[in-house]
């Protein structure tokens, strides 16, 4: 068994015995994406570190689809400044940003959202400021179809889950959808969204940032969420939290209840 404390930067990456080489790779030590995914994270990072020390930006970028975030970290830590800069430019060119504002016709409040999507239109990062909740909204046929399409990128038991709930940003299509385990979607994630809706009902703004990882994957396996509750009256922060979930069943989220919200809001007075 590999001792994660024992590896050194001088370690040369080599393919484990029996692992198939990646077709067309001149280093002949790169594994197929499936074989890479089967490796323990520590071993995957050792491989990525080795490549980052000796390959150019174009080659490292070509390997990014297989290594995902591990390659980004390896380049940041192990490559020279020129390679880092070139690599970052290539990564930035893979993504684009899409913004939306959704106005509540009843009160005029505006929810703002911005998604970063990859070259295939899959969301990898999203930010929003939520000020209103839409109730009893009908979903368009296009949105329902987009949910099915997102679910189809996943595995059995997945749904087309909204990055930001439909009640917050209405129909936004695939940029706001990812393959999400159904139990996670209807359980822990919904509980968190219920908390955000309750904060908004209390007159607060909720600022959220969400990262879906690893990049390059059809189905994210980790959802990282940072949110803070802001009193729009004076801009002060009422509450903040970071929480991350695996994209799987069986998790629960302990939300802030209404009584605790009242106390947190009153505590600043």
């Amino acid at each position: 068994m590999t001792d994660p404390l024992s590896f050194r930067s001088a370690d040369v990456p080599t393919a484990p015995a029996g692992a198939p080489p990646f077709a067309g790779d001149d280093a002949a030590t790169v594994l197929s994406p499936a074989a890479l995914n089967a490796l323990p994270l520590a071993e995957r990072e050792i491989l990525a570190n080795g490549y980052a020390e000796r390959l150019g930006a174009a080659e490292l970028h070509a390997l990014r689809g297989a290594f995902g975030d591990s390659m980004d970290r390896a380049v940041n830590e192990r490559s020279g400044p020129a390679v880092r800069e070139d690599y970052a430019g290539r990564v930035a060119a893979e993504t684009r940003e899409i913004e939306a504002q959704v106005i509540n016709p009843d009160g005029g409040e505006i929810n703002e959202a911005r998604w970063t999507v990859d070259e295939q239109g899959r969301p990898v990062h999203a930010e929003a400021t939520l000020r209103t909740v839409f109730s009893e909204l009908e979903r368009s046929d296009a949105e329902t179809q987009a949910q099915r399409d997102a679910a189809d990128r996943g595995i059995d038991g997945d749904q087309g889950g909204h990055v930001f709930g439909h009640r917050f940003v209405t129909d936004q299509g695939l940029k706001n959808l990812f393959p999400q385990n159904g139990n996670f979607n209807m359980g822990a994630y919904k509980t968190l969204e219920n908390e955000w809706a309750a904060w908004i009902d209390q007159g607060m703004d909720v600022r959220i940032a969400i990262d879906l990882g690893p990049r390059g994957a059809d189905r994210p396996d980790r959802v990282r969420i940072s949110y803070e509750v802001i009193d729009p009256a004076d801009g002060s922060r009422v509450y903040d939290q970071r929480v991350s979930f695996d994209n799987r069943a069986g998790q629960s989220y302990d939300r802030v209840d209404s009584e605790q919200m009242d106390e947190l809001i009153a505590a600043r007075a």
Partner: protein, 124 residues
Amino acid sequence: MNRDELLGEIARLIVVDPKAGERPWDGYALIAWYGEGISRLNGFRYDKGQPGEALTPSGAEIENRLEQLRLATHVAGKAPWRVCIVRINREAAEVAIDFEYEDPGRWYVTPDSAADIAERVRPC
């Protein structure tokens, strides 16, 4: 990166984090809590002996480093730690780290427990 390098990097990321640094502090504590699939991160800033104030870093990279630290400190045959507490004493330029394996509930931050935990993790 080994354990010490990761700890130094986590401390650096806290110090340069735009949200954690939006107001001055002389002490900072970060609590990383890991459950079944879920993890939570809570930070507290301290200044001039005042009660700790909730202020969690905004940067996602800190979570990456904490997960690396969890791997790097994993001992074969033993379950990984459930809670990691990083304390920074700015004046003394000291960073301390503690791990909880047995009773993670002691460090589970909620609105009701935040003030008590903030005092217990105050950097020396």
